[in-house]
Symmetry: C2
Subunit: 314 residues, 2 copies
C-alpha cells in the first residue's frame, strides 16, 4: 500500500469522482481516437501540448472563479514548431487563449486586418497579409492533414479529465508519444462538494476562502496513464532565485524527462531545460529579429525525444 500513498492515488480518485462530468465526452473520445489512429498508423510521433491556465470555480453555478495567468503564447508557438518538426499535435488549450498560427494577428483582427472595398470582395491590408495568411492557410492545412487537433477546456475539472482521456488514448503509441505540459494548472481549488451552489453574497465584511491543494496528477500520468510517453513539464516562478531549485525538485519528484524552467519577466527571451543530463539555457537567436525561444526549445526537445525513442527499445 505504500506506493499508493506516495502517488496520492486516493486523492486523485476522489478528485475525479467528485468532478462534474465532461459534457461532450463521447465526441472528444471519437475525435481523439480517429486522430491518434490515423497518425500512429503512419508511424508519426504524437505530442499533446497543453496551453493556457485552468480556472477553479468558487460557486457551482459559477459566477466567480480563480484563474491562472497564461496567454497561451508558449503553447501556441510550440505547437507550430512541433508540426514543422513532423509531429501530430493534440492542442489541449484554454478557451480564448492564443491559437497556433495566430500569434502575429493584432489584438483586434476584424477591426484592423480587413476591408470590403466594393461591398462584395474582402481584402486584407498589406501590413497584415502574412499574419492572416498564416492564420488561415497554415492553420487550415495543419488541421486538414490531421496534424493538429484542437481541444478546448476552461476549468481544472475539464482539463484533468481531458488529459486523462488523451493519455489513455495515446497509451499504444508508446515512446513515440510525448506530453508537453505548458498549461498553467491551478495548485489550489474548492472541492466541488464543499462548494456553495449560489453566488456568494457580498453582504458586509471580508470574505474568507479556504482552498484545498489540487492532487498532483503528474506522478499518475507518468506511472499509470502513459508510462512509456516522453514527458516534459514546466515550472514558472516570479522569483529567479528559487526557480532552478524548484525545477530540479520537480524533475526528481515527478520523474519527468525534463522540466522547462521559466521566470515570468524573462520567459519570452530565455528558458532553462532542466534534466538529469544537466541544465541547458535556451534563448532566441539574437541575430534574427523574428526568432522566438520556442524555435530553439522545440529543436532541443525533439532531439531529446529522438534519443529517448532510440534508447527505449534497447
Amino acid at each position: 500500500m505504500s506506493s499508493i500513498s506516495v502517488l496520492g492515488e486516493d486523492e486523485v480518485s476522489s478528485f475525479f469522482e467528485s468532478s462534474p462530468p465532461l459534457k461532450n465526452m463521447e465526441e472528444i473520445v471519437h475525435k481523439l481516437n480517429g486522430f491518434i489512429q490515423l497518425n500512429s498508423t503512419g508511424g508519426r510521433r504524437i505530442v499533446c501540448v497543453t496551453s493556457g491556465g485552468t480556472t477553479v470555480p468558487l460557486e457551482q453555478r459559477c459566477v466567480r472563479y480563480i484563474d491562472n495567468f497564461s496567454s497561451g503564447n508558449r503553447g501556441a508557438a510550440s505547437t507550430e514548431n512541433f508540426v514543422k518538426a513532423g509531429y501530430a499535435v493534440i492542442f489541449l488549450f484554454r478557451r480564448g487563449t492564443c491559437q497556433p498560427y495566430c500569434r502575429s494577428l493584432p489584438d483586434d483582427p476584424f477591426l484592423e486586418c480587413f476591408q470590403f472595398p466594393d461591398n462584395t470582395n474582402i481584402r486584407v491590408h498589406a501590413s497584415h497579409a502574412e499574419a492572416v495568411k498564416m492564420a488561415v492557410m497554415d492553420q487550415q492545412a495543419a488541421v486538414a492533414e490531421a496534424r493538429l487537433l484542437k481541444l478546448p477546456f476552461t476549468t481544472i475539472y475539464e482539463y484533468l479529465q481531458m488529459l486523462r482521456l488523451i493519455a489513455t488514448a495515446m497509451k499504444d503509441v508508446g515512446p513515440c508519444s510525448m506530453f508537453y505540459l505548458a498549461a498553467a494548472v491551478s495548485d489550489f481549488y474548492v472541492p466541488w462538494k464543499s462548494m456553495v451552489e449560489h453566488k456568494i453574497e457580498s453582504g458586509s465584511g471580508p470574505l474568507d476562502i479556504r482552498l484545498a491543494q489540487v492532487p498532483k496528477m503528474l506522478s499518475i500520468l507518468r506511472t499509470n496513464w502513459a508510462p512509456k510517453a516522453f514527458c516534459i513539464s514546466f515550472k514558472l516562478e516570479t522569483d529567479s532565485k528559487i526557480l532552478i531549485e524548484k525545477a530540479t525538485k520537480a524533475l526528481q519528484k515527478y520523474k519527468v524527462h525534463a522540466v522547462v524552467a521559466n521566470e515570468l519577466s524573462t520567459r519570452k527571451e530565455e528558458v532553462v531545460v532542466v534534466s538529469s543530463s544537466g541544465n541547458v539555457v535556451v534563448r532566441c537567436n539574437s541575430e534574427k529579429p523574428e526568432s522566438i525561444v520556442e524555435d530553439n526549445l522545440i529543436r532541443l526537445i525533439v532531439d531529446r525525444h529522438s534519443t529517448y525513442i532510440k534508447e527505449f527499445g534497447t
Copy 2:
C-alpha cells in the same frame, strides 16, 4: 461629515491611492476627450457601456487572480443597439471578451470563415459571409464615424480608474450622457498593499485567503463623478427568488435610474427593468428567431433616457 461616511468616500480615496497607476493614462484621456468633444459638439447622446468581468490579482507579480464570469455578450449586443439608436458609445470592455458586431462569428473564425483559393485572394465561406461583413464593415464604420470608442481593461484597478476618467470627461455632456454598467465588477479584492509580491507557494496543506470588500463606486459615480448622467446598473443572481428584491434594494441604495435584473440561467431570454415607475419584464421577440433581448431592452432604455433629458431642464 455624515454624508462622507454614507458614501464611503474614505474607502474610495484609499482604494484609488493604493491602486497601481494606469500605464497609458495620457493616451486614454486624449482619445476620450477627442471622442467626447466631437460627439457632444454635434449634440449626440453619449453612453458608456461597460462589459465583461474584472479580475482581482492575488499576487503583485500576478500569476493567480480571481475573476468574474462574463462573456461580454450583453455589453456587445447593447453597444450595437445604442449605435443604431443614434448614440456614440464608449465601450469599456474586458480584454478578450465579446466585441460589438462580432457576436455571430464562430468560436474559431480564422479556422472556419476564410479560404485562400489561389494563394493571393482571400474568400469568405458563404455560411459566414454575413457575420464577417458585420464584424468588418459595420464595426469599422462605427469606429470611423466616431460612434464607437473601444477601451480595454483587465483588473478591477484598471476598470475603476478608467470609469472615473470617463465620468469626469463626460461631466459637461450632462443629461445627454448615460452610464450603462453591464460589467461584472468584483465585490471582493486583496488590497494592493497587503498583497504578496511573488507567486504563492503551493507547499503543503490548504491555502486561506481573506478578501476585502471593493468599495461601492456606484454612489460616488452618481453623486460626485457624473451627477447629471442617466445611470443604469445591473444585478445578476443565480437564485431567482432573491433577484428582484436585491435589484430593488440596489435601486434605492445607489439612486440609479434603473436596475436591469437578470438571472444567470435565463439572462438571454428575459430581464426585468426595475425602476421607481415599476418593474418591466423585457423579452426577445418570439416570432423573430434572430431577435435578442437587447433589441427591446435598449429601445426601452433609450425611451427612458429621452424622458429624462426632457424633464431635466424643467
